[in-house]
Chain length 105, copies 2
Amino acid sequence: MPLPFDVLAEPSRRKILDLLLERPRLVGELTQQLGLSQPGTSKHLRVLREAGLVQVRQDAQRRWYELRPEPLAELDAWLAHYRHLWTGRLDALERHLDAMEDDPR
Amino acid sequence: MPLPFDVLAEPSRRKILDLLLERPRLVGELTQQLGLSQPGTSKHLRVLREAGLVQVRQDAQRRWYELRPEPLAELDAWLAHYRHLWTGRLDALERHLDAMEDDPR
DNA sequence: CGGCTATATAACCCGAATGGCATGCTGACG
DNA sequence: CGTCAGCATGCCATTCGGGTTATATAGCCG
């Protein structure tokens, strides 16, 4: 699963994630919030789905979309390489926490 | 300064950041590592510069490019909204650390 | 000064991504 | 069963971004 930068580069897709952060939503609901056509929304949802950022739950004709955070966690891991550049004295604690995640006894 | 997702969506630009993470570099050096033309490299560097992700230090005809992490810190702040989705028991500690950054006594 | 080195900018080409409309598909319901 | 609701897909037009080559700019050095 490659890093989802290109998927997140699209403002509408980030807005979808923001909306799904509150609760799962139907396509029609997202369409309304985004202010674009229903097919447009469906296309963005497809991209998000194929990137693993959302998943669908079917309910009759309706589709509930909800978040899947794994790709965001990978993004976070990528960012970690740079994080020491803007965090100061917390570095040691962070390295300790990272180590704990590798071996969480 | 908007979130730099679109800037980071480009693999060559992420590679530039990776290279600059080790040390500042000259344009020619980056060009060689990226395997594209010198103007191509300069274009990417311009985009990175305008996004605040790198800065230049001039030295005669040479330009030393180096990292500027601020936009990455903003990205990190954006990610923070989602982080509770994949971190479990560390949440409380993280909230504590965030609070410390606001009021670091 | 003349020419070379290092980098930036300009002009152009091309593929890909986005947005819209029209249409297809599926399940509910009278 | 026929129709409607909810969503996906196909197709087209347009835009945008990244690549290259050619050229401009600036500073060193002989």
